[in-house]
């Protein structure tokens, strides 16, 4: 009796051991494999997006989510694309690590069909290696950084934001427009990824134009610029380029007069050109401000497309708080339409290859092609150049509001 129980116990243990071993061996190594047709059902296409909803760069990710959701709602209302509706799944990602994690989760866990990087340069740079190796069609709508652009990958497409060389030249052009004989320019740059990427691209351009550059930097979300402004005043710069968000630029501009910088021209980058800056600096101080905008119209302009956009935005989200909708709402909305067009062009037999083929055929793709408002620049893509838009809109403040002044 004792012997048989012992034997039974031993066999049970052996069996368990074998089972565990089989389980381990059978499932290892387990490689992540994403699939050409994932995220597609007969009636639905799953779109994944990642971006920062909280933290100092929340002004990018939150509006991106809202813009995309608005576009998708309208596109679905107008009718399914070749029989399929779009569905958005959005993941918060602020730091590089979170961006990689979100990209992996969306691709391998949620099995999305297209991955949208709505995360600014930090996230785009972090996820770059991953998306290139996973081969999932990736739409980088905000990232200026070269890391996502080079080396070229067939599955990566870029939307409204051109690469920083384009925006850098644009800003330098604005400087010369403001002060035609300028010799000395100040550059006020944030130390975080997006301004630094812009700075890197802009510096050679400034040198080529024979400008003497005074560089001052600030930490993200800094509110006191006494030191930097005093330095600019001391060196008598004639214009100041600000690479940073509208709040950062706003406080710098607001504090400038008391540091002696009364007659200086300001040139802001795409994240600085936001109407909320006027509340910070006061309407009467908003002269001599220029910038560029990554879209043809500012939210407050009266042109028909942007008015139409504002109407549908407010209908969905209510009265906008100070500073919304912003550039990222607009670009996310417009780019979603472009993406929908690429999907449409691929036909019913949808997979990654057919999608990419279709995307590379886009010519002047714009939202109105599918019933949306043309609030973004049209996109043209070829098989060797995946940068959809290369235009920027020169901008100035008119009557207390920004306006694209071509």
């Amino acid at each position: 009796m004792a012997i048989s129980t012992r034997i039974r116990r031993r066999t049970v243990l052996q069996g368990m051991g074998a089972g565990v071993a089989a389980g381990v061996l059978g499932t290892w190594p387990r490689q992540a494999s994403a699939d050409e047709k994932q995220g597609i059902t007969d009636t639905e296409i799953l779109i994944g997006a990642l971006g920062p909803i909280t933290g100092p760069t929340a002004f990018i990710g939150g509006p991106a989510r809202d813009g995309m959701a608005l576009a998708i709602e309208k596109i679905n209302e107008a009718g399914p694309i070749n029989g399929r509706k779009l569905r958005l799944v959005y993941e918060h990602a602020a730091t590089p690590a979170e961006s990689v994690a979100a990209a992996k989760k969306l691709t391998e866990n949620d099995n999305v069909f297209i991955l949208v990087l709505a995360s600014g340069s930090t996230g785009a740079a972090a996820a770059a290696d991953y998306v290139r190796s996973a081969k999932i069609p990736t739409y980088n709508i905000f990232g200026a950084t070269p890391i996502i652009r080079e080396p070229f990958a067939r599955n990566v497409f870029h939307g409204s934001m051109p690469d920083p060389v384009v925006t850098g030249s644009g800003m330098v052009d604005e400087v010369f427009k403001a002060v035609p004989n300028i010799k000395k320019v100040g550059v006020l740059a944030g130390t975080y990824a997006f301004p630094q990427a812009n700075l890197k691209a802009m510096t050679p351009i400034l040198q080529k134009r024979n400008l003497e550059v005074v560089l001052e930097q600030f930490d993200a979300a800094a509110t006191d610029y006494t030191a930097q402004l005093v330095s600019f005043a001391r060196q008598r710069v004639q214009a100041i380029i600000v690479l940073g968000s509208f709040t950062e630029a706003g406080f710098a501009i607001k504090q400038a007069p008391d540091k002696g910088l009364t007659d200086v021209a300001w040139v802001l980058d795409g994240s600085g050109t936001n109407d909320a800056i006027v509340s910070i600096i006061g309407k009467e101080n908003s002269t001599n401000l220029r910038g560029y905008y990554n879209a043809p119209y500012f939210p407050s302009q009266t042109d028909a497309p942007i008015q139409g956009f504002m109407k549908v935005w407010i209908a969905k989200y209510g009265q906008p708080p100070q500073g919304r909708p912003n550039l990222y709402d607009i670009v996310a909305y417009g780019c979603t339409y472009v993406m929908a067009q690429a999907i449409k062009g691929a036909g019913r037999d949808l997979n990654w290859t057919s999608l990419m083929d279709s995307w590379e055929k886009l010519k002047n793709a714009k939202p109105s092609d599918m019933g949306g408002y043309d609030v973004t620049f049209p996109e043209t893509v070829t098989s060797t150049d995946h940068q959809g838009n290369k235009l920027i809109g020169p901008a100035q403040i008119v009557n207390g509001k920004w306006k694209v002044v071509p």
Partner: protein
């Protein structure tokens, strides 16, 4: 006994490694999450040393992680150093960083120490961000997949196994220290700093050691995880990372390393599991921590173990068997174990003073607490010290044991002046003490309390003994036997494993005595050993003290208010009042002295 001991030490490492093996059954995203959890478990265990055991608040965890991550990544990326070598380098760098932080930092406690760690955290991140040329600054540093002996760990499963294996390895020495003498000493420091110091624990050095070890391990965790992130930037390791890490031991449980381990593993996985709630996650986290502090002080771990801990029965709480034989056994055990040789009882009249207090004065501002006090204590005698409240007795004790310095005068121990001998070193000379408010280390078990009484508590000794304890070596067994013998001598052997906080006041005083005798000291300073204790217990303690004095040859100085106790115990009594000695001599004589009576009762002398 040794098998469970070994299991205790290896269990956390095995658990971590088992987690990584179990993860092979999961999809690649969950393998990633599990790797994060394992990394956080390592961080939590390291924080258990600083936060749970030493009860220091540290907000420098993020900086240490960054030092590890960059410290391993930069050599690999820029100098082609092999991954494992870079890992070792990063770990050492973390330890160095801990040293740099702790040496100035441990002068402070509580909020100032927290602030120093915060300063360290902020400065490290600023430096990393500013050194763009070296670290890539805010744009981040891309990191290649780790390569070990030619094998490239690029898939999630590979990485999980590597992470599990390395994490298990790095936790092991930490657990050895935490479960061993070093961990116990840290908990003693947190429980009662003065008592810890009186038994040889140098508080600053122990805290520094805690910071050095934990920082090294935290840096290692950062270095292991960095390749998986593929790109690291300084702001990921900011103040928020430090504060969230602080939650691991607080929520997980402050009573043991498992608290930090499990707390870290669970809390790190939560954001991944609860992704739909991303917006609210940080707030929920804060609510969880605050709720834990209010409703489950000591964390969930302590709550769980507390529910299951056996409460001692009534029978067990009463005093144990007679101390008579036990003291004798204690002495013979000490002889066998080769501890300090026991002096046979001598003829007292020939003895030299073991303790000479000479002109000691101590003032606090305008108050003269002790005023030109001088008396001698003959070796192997019991010398009483009495006086009304506020007479300066405890102050004098603190000066003799080294917790306070006198303004004037000198204390000589066996002829050696104690001026330059710090309090931590006095136990080695042969002086131990008990305290007025029973200063047992309440979260430690009774036997652990007594083990500290051995006085083998400088940093190196504590570390080496931790290894001995983990291996259950002969030396560790001998020490434990000595501690049990001391407990037995005071009648507490049956409560050896119980927490000292669960003892009654009388038993705590006995425990203090056990702790005081285990090092076979030449003199014990006892501060109100029977205060608050019942008459029977006082009698029992008196018996015990007399036997220890007779058979072990240990001298004693006893402060007491219980005059009959003192008279029946002491060979000689000094009386203090208002900081001065007003009488000294034979107990019976002193008690009837007119000055003494006036000091106590304000009685006017009635002339005969």
């Amino acid at each position: 006994m040794s098998r469970t001991g070994a299991l205790r030490v290896f269990a956390p490492s095995l658990f971590v490694f088992a987690l990584s093996i179990a993860g092979l059954l999961l999809g690649s995203y969950w393998q990633y999450v599990l790797a994060l959890s394992i990394s956080a478990a390592v961080i939590g265990t390291a924080l258990a040393m600083i936060v749970s055991y030493a009860r220091c608040i540290t907000i420098a965890t993020g900086a240490m992680l960054a030092i590890g991550a960059y410290g391993a990544a930069l050599p690999v990326v820029r100098l082609d150093v092999p991954f494992l070598v870079a890992l070792l380098f990063a770990t050492a760098l973390g330890g160095l960083a801990g040293l740099i932080l702790a040496v100035p930092g441990v002068r402070f406690r509580s909020h100032n120490l927290a602030m120093v760690t915060f300063v360290f955290q902020a400065v490290v991140i600023i430096v990393l961000r500013q050194s763009k040329g070296l670290t890539g600054g805010a744009e981040g540093l891309p990191i290649p997949a780790p390569v070990v002996f030619g094998f490239r760990f690029s898939s999630d499963a590979d990485f999980l196994l590597l992470c599990g294996f390395l994490s298990a390895l790095v936790i092991l020495p930490l657990i050895v220290l935490l479960e061993g003498a070093l961990g116990k000493n840290l908990r003693a420091v947190a429980a009662n700093e003065s008592a810890a110091r009186a038994f040889g624990i140098n508080v600053n050095r122990h805290l520094i050691a805690a910071f050095v070890w934990s920082s090294a391990v935290i840096a290692c965790a950062g270095a292991i995880m960095a390749p998986r992130y593929r790109i690291i930037d300084p702001d990921s390791y900011g103040i928020l990372a430090s504060i969230l890490a602080l939650a691991y031991p607080i929520v997980g449980g402050m009573g043991s390393p498992w608290g930090g381990l499990v707390g870290g593993a669970v809390l790190r996985a939560l954001p991944e599991v609860l992704r739909p709630l991303a917006d609210y996650l940080e707030l929920m986290f804060c609510i969880l921590v605050v709720a834990t502090i209010i409703f489950f002080p000591g964390g969930f771990g302590s709550f769980v173990t507390g529910t299951f801990r056996r409460k001692p029965t009534k029978l067990e709480t009463s005093a144990g068997p007679e101390p008579r034989r036990a003291v004798h056994d204690f002495i013979s055990d000490m002889n066998i174990l080769g501890r300090r040789e026991v002096r046979p009882p001598q003829d007292r009249s020939r003895s030299t003073p073991i303790l000479r207090i000479s002109g000691v004065t101590k003032s606090y501002g305008a108050l003269r607490a002790v005023s030109h006090v001088s008396f001698d204590v003959t070796a192997q005698t019991i010398h009483g010290l009495m006086g009304p409240n506020g007479a300066g007795k405890t102050t004098l004790f603190n000066i003799v044991s080294g917790l306070n310095a006198s303004d004037e005068g000198q204390v000589l121990f066996d002829g050696t002046p104690l001026d330059d001998v710090p309090v931590e070193s006095r136990i080695k000379l042969g002086m131990s003490r008990t305290f007025q408010h029973a200063a047992v280390f309440d979260k430690l078990s009774c036997v652990d309390n007594v083990l500290i009484g051995l006085g083998l508590n400088d940093i190196w000794q504590a570390s080496v003994r931790s290894v001995h304890m983990a291996m259950h070596s002969q030396r560790a067994r001998a020490e434990r036997k000595a501690a049990m013998a001391a407990l037995d001598a005071v009648g507490l052997a049956h409560r050896a494993r119980d927490g000292a906080g669960s003892l009654s006041l009388g038993d705590q005083r006995r425990l203090e005595i056990a702790r005081a005798i285990v090092s076979c000291p030449r003199i014990i300073l006892l501060d109100e050993p029977v205060s608050g204790v019942s008459v029977e217990e006082a009698a029992g303690l008196r018996e015990l003290l007399l036997r220890i004095n007779r058979e072990l040859g240990t001298g004693m100085v006893v402060i007491e208010h219980n005059i009959s106790f003192l008279v029946s115990l002491c060979n000689r009594i000094s009386v203090m009042s208002d900081g001065r000695i007003i009488a000294e001599g034979d107990p019976d004589v002193v008690v009837n002295d007119a000055l003494v009576r006036r000091a106590y009762f304000g009685e006017r002398e009635i002339s005969a």
